[in-house]
């Protein structure tokens, strides 16, 4: 097996016992990028020279006896996480040439731990979308079928991991943007509990929902990366001070007696039958491993999409106010006065989906509408969280499909935003409730495209979710399948 196709834990062992250098590993991954990136188009920026410099630095640390963590591991960052000296575009024209003067929390952690930053991956503009087709830079393709979408918004991250162009990547998840593309690309995607990972340096879409998490080749890697990025950050007031457990240690403890809940609201009419079948089969596998499975109800699920599109758009309309052409980013040059400059800058700089969400959110926050929309949505959010709290009185982990369908064809849903919004129907409640969720491969659909199983944990109990996912992975081989590129 070529080094680029290794998992992190496989590479870790070889780096730590000196069978490969970080430079050798990085060269292998860069060669893979050179070979398949022209077809997949997962990266907005590849930092080959910088990656090799960082690899050399990692080798020096390895030689000095340092071991473990992310030292010497080549990784990719979604292009909405700021990186000093490396363009951070959010796949938007408005930030096309924006080079941050400083690192965000994730880039800083990478450097501290000696991880290698390969580059910045494509996304739906400002993470708004479910197919990465809302990118202003390029169309990323699903490595399993280049005519199909990788999902989104972290489509570049999921595609690059699925195509072995990085050992793992970091994505961000506001309504499913890590889990849905992970499901569609056949990799593992974990959205941590809100507050578990610092948001400092993550370009905000919807601040109360956004969370950074790993996209990896298997569950063991998800545990490693989460452990490396989680924890309190004094620069993010919403980050939690709870101690970070050793997620890898408990993975092998087994799931005998683990109580798994299956919400009846998550197996809906119109759902793709092979997807439902694959997920049900996965739940049976978990049962066979000693878990007890029971049906539960999350009665307010039907309000989740509406609630999400009020909260997320309201916050987005606010967060995107700063792109005004005054200090950085794109500025319309032909304007005659300030108002015209604002309007032309934002008209030229933002794509249609971003504009749609800014308008929806602005409306929801307007005087006279706030109570009916934003406030009501926050109340509905409380009810959705209560559903989960009640359910977690009876079960330890909840299992659902990640997405109602496998990867759809490029262009298939772009004309119908509502249909696109429904791609996230199983993932958005988890953001509204602030809970951890993880998608992992559990089969294929009628088109031979990967299907994702979503496990949902209690707040700050990523460990139990990871343990269940790892047990499933040990009993199956879905995570080992690779696309032929």
């Amino acid at each position: 097996m070529e080094p680029h196709s290794w998992t992190i834990h496989e590479a870790r062992e070889r780096l730590d016992n000196g069978r490969i250098t970080a430079t050798g590993l990085t060269r292998s991954v860069l060669a893979r990028i050179e070979a398949v990136e022209p077809r997949v188009a997962a990266f907005n920026t590849v930092c080959a020279d910088m990656a090799l410099e960082q690899a050399a630095a990692a080798d020096r640390r390895l030689q000095a006896g340092e071991r473990g963590g992310l030292l010497g591991i080549p990784l990719a960052l979604k292009d909405n996480m700021i990186t000093q000296g490396v363009a951070t575009t959010c796949s938007s024209r408005i930030l096309k040439n924006f080079v941050p003067p400083a690192d965000g929390a994730m880039a800083a952690r990478f450097k501290e731990q000696g991880a290698i930053n390969l580059g910045k991956t494509n996304l739906d503009e400002f993470a708004m979308g479910s197919s990465t087709e809302n990118s202003a830079t390029q169309i990323t393709r699903n490595p399993w079928n280049l005519e199909r979408a990788p999902g989104g918004s972290s489509g570049g991250a999921a595609a690059c991991v699925a195509a072995d162009m990085a050992l793992a990547a970091l994505g961000s998840d506001t309504g499913g943007s890590i889990r849905q593309p992970a499901a569609l690309c056949g990799v593992v995607g974990l959205k941590p509990t809100y507050g578990r990972v610092s948001r400092y340096g993550l370009v905000a879409f919807a601040s109360s929902l956004d969370q950074i998490g790993p996209i990896t080749k298997d569950v063991a890697d998800a545990a490693i990366v989460l452990g490396a990025i989680a924890g309190r950050d004094p620069l993010d007031a919403t980050s939690s001070a709870r101690p970070v457990p050793d997620y890898s240690r408990g993975l092998k403890d087994g799931i005998k007696g683990l109580r798994i809940g299956v919400p009846r609201e998550y197996f809906i009419d119109g759902m793709d039958a092979p997807v439902a079948d694959a997920v049900r089969a996965a739940i049976d596998t978990l049962k066979g491993l000693g878990a007890t499975v029971r049906e539960i109800s999350l009665p307010h699920t039907r309000y989740a999409v509406a609630t999400y599109y009020l909260v997320a758009t309201a916050e987005a309309s606010s967060n995107l106010g700063r792109y005004d052409g005054v200090r950085y980013g794109h500025r319309a040059m032909d304007a005659r006065d300030l108002l015209e400059m604002y309007m032309a800058t934002r008209d030229q700089g933002f794509g249609p989906e971003v504009k749609r969400r800014i308008m929806l959110g602005t409306y929801a926050l307007s005087a006279g509408y706030y109570d009916a929309y934003y406030k009501k949505a926050q109340q509905a959010r409380t009810l959705i969280l209560k559903d989960f709290t009640d359910a977690f009185g009876q079960v330890d982990v909840i299992a659902t499909p990640t997405s109602p369908t496998g990867a759809f064809r490029l262009g298939e849903r772009t004309a119908d935003p509502l249909q696109m919004y429904l791609s996230d129907i199983f993932t958005i409640s988890i953001n509204l409730a602030g809970l951890p969720g993880m998608s992992q491969p559990c089969g294929v659909d009628g088109n031979g495209m990967p299907v994702g199983l979503q496990l949902i944990g209690k707040a700050f109990d990523e460990a139990t979710m990871l343990r269940a996912g790892w047990a499933f992975e040990q009993a199956t081989a879905f995570h080992k399948a690779k696309p032929s590129l």
């Binding site: 003067p101 109360s208 007031a237 919403t238 106010g321 200090r327 926050l365």
Partner: protein
């Protein structure tokens, strides 16, 4: 028609913290544009605010000083509008859950005390500044001020005249200076004030339509602008017109208010709770700790000066206008406690005049409180007269010499020896035999002449009281 004036003030105090409210940038005034900025206060993509605890402490101090309720938790909100000096497209402020509510501020106008309701005090960040002058057809933006902490203090519509409004603003100024939370320099803009003003026919309960007024950056402008606006509104109403709800700007040069925007053009700020900051929890223990460290407030200090030092309300009021002045006075009384009233006269009289004349603030006064007390003590003991004391003061100020040293060096000790005074009187009488005869003949008014001559002969050092007594006796023959 006779109208009652209804005024409410919104006062912005720029807090004197070392760093900004949501980042570590310095808050120093007057440095080169954009030299005190970072990605956070520049509103870069991906950055987050972290609340400066000092700002909460200062807000709690202001709340305690105005007998406000301190709310816990209180909540930051985003106030949205587009302007080049506002980096994020929103200002982080507080909206429906401010840190302080239901306070009061006591003012005195024409000797009558009055309580003004303080609706709320909230924390927020300042915006930057747009620069236009000397730049041709472009504008520049200076964001040094962006993110400097502010307290906004909003009064109830309890003020009934421009004089009350000025007294209220002065009271806030005194308070924040005392608390040490704001430099309150109106010229530098670290104390700013907007007013809401309306008129209603005397006796009517319902408020008239209010006008919001901006840009009154001195006590004088506040008074002038309100006076102008009262006349303008009264004229409109007298002529049967209606007041338009709008924002008006005080034009300092022309001395008029001018419409800036109407109600229809008013911003919809689209307030929403700030998701990047947690609700601010202010525990009882924290409030108690802040209270412990608070200085004595002007009202309490004034009452204490009256009770302990026997000063008049007026004197106590003047002395407590600033903490530094009150501290100076107290230090002087501590150095010599025998005559607090005379000490007060010297601080407010001779010393204040000298400081005023030289433009020196009391905290930079070259004469220590103990030195001033030395003069008072010398007067009190009869060593020098009040008149000589002024000479002594003049010699001390600027040289750093003590009173005793000046008195000694210049031989200014008062002559209280009756033999020496009698001798001087006798020589004056001998030199003016006709005047002595006239006095003895009934011209009482000549007494003043003799006093003057004796004092002159003593070069001002004779004890005036003894001169009076001895003259009366000797002239009587």
């Amino acid at each position: 028609m006779k109208y009652e004036v209804v005024i409410g003030l919104e006062v912005h105090c720029q807090l004197s913290t070392n760093t900004k409210i949501f980042c570590g940038c310095a808050t120093t005034f007057g440095n080169p544009p954009n030299s005190q900025t970072c990605p956070i206060c520049l509103g870069h993509p991906g950055v987050l605010p972290v609340l400066n605890r000092k700002v909460v402490e200062y807000a709690v101090m202001a709340g305690l000083a105005t007998r406000s309720t301190i709310s816990s938790p209180n909540v930051f909100s985003r106030k949205h509008y587009f302007y080049p000096d506002l980096p994020k497209g929103y200002q982080i402020s507080q909206f429906d859950k401010p840190i302080c509510e239901h306070g009061t501020i006591e003012i005195v106008v024409d000797g009558t005390p009055k309580r003004i309701g303080l609706t709320r005090i909230h924390m927020e960040e300042d915006a930057g500044k747009n620069l236009h002058e000397g730049l041709g057809d472009v504008s520049h933006v200076d964001l040094n001020r962006a993110g400097v902490p502010l307290l906004e203090m909003v009064s109830e519509p309890d003020l009934r005249s421009p004089e009350e409004a000025v007294a209220y603003l002065k009271k806030i100024r005194t308070l924040v200076i005392y608390l040490g939370i704001c430099d309150a320099n109106m010229e530098q803009g670290n104390l700013r004030c907007d007013a809401n003003i309306s008129l209603r026919p005397v006796g009517r309960e319902k408020f008239g339509t209010k006008v919001e007024m901006k840009n009154m950056n001195s006590f004088r402008f506040l008074k002038q602008a309100l006076e102008y606006e009262i006349k303008r509104q009264a004229k409109v109403l007298d002529e049967g017109g209606t007041i338009v709800q709008e924002t008006r700007l005080w034009d300092t040069k022309r001395g008029v208010t001018e419409s800036m925007r109407s109600k229809e053009e008013a911003h919809d700020y689209r307030y929403m709770p700030e998701p990047d900051l947690l609700p601010v929890v202010v525990e009882r223990a924290w409030i108690d700790a802040i209270r412990q460290n608070m200085p004595e407030l002007p009202d309490a200090k004034r009452e204490r000066f009256v009770a302990d030092f026997g000063l008049s309300e007026y004197d106590a009021d003047v002395l407590t206008v600033s903490r530094e002045l009150a501290d100076y006075y107290e230090a002087a009384v501590a150095a010599f406690s025998g005559d607090p009233k005379t000490t007060c006269n010297w601080v407010m009289g001779e010393l204040a005049a000298k400081l005023n004349e030289t433009g020196t603030p009391i905290e930079q006064c070259p004469m220590t409180a103990a030195q001033l007390a030395g003069i008072v003590q010398a007067i009190h003991s009869g060593e020098i007269s009040g008149k000589i004391a002024k000479t002594v003061f003049g010699e001390m100020y600027g040289t750093g010499k003590d009173a005793a040293q000046v008195i000694r060096e210049q031989g200014l000790v008062q002559v209280s020896d009756s033999g020496a005074i009698d001798a001087m009187i006798q020589s004056v009488m001998a030199a003016n035999p006709d005047k002595v005869a006239d006095y003895r003949g009934g011209k009482d008014k000549l007494f003043g002449f003799f006093v003057g001559q004796v004092m002159k002969a003593s070069q001002g050092q004779a004890n005036p009281q003894m001169v009076n007594e001895r003259l009366k006796a000797l002239l009587a023959g």
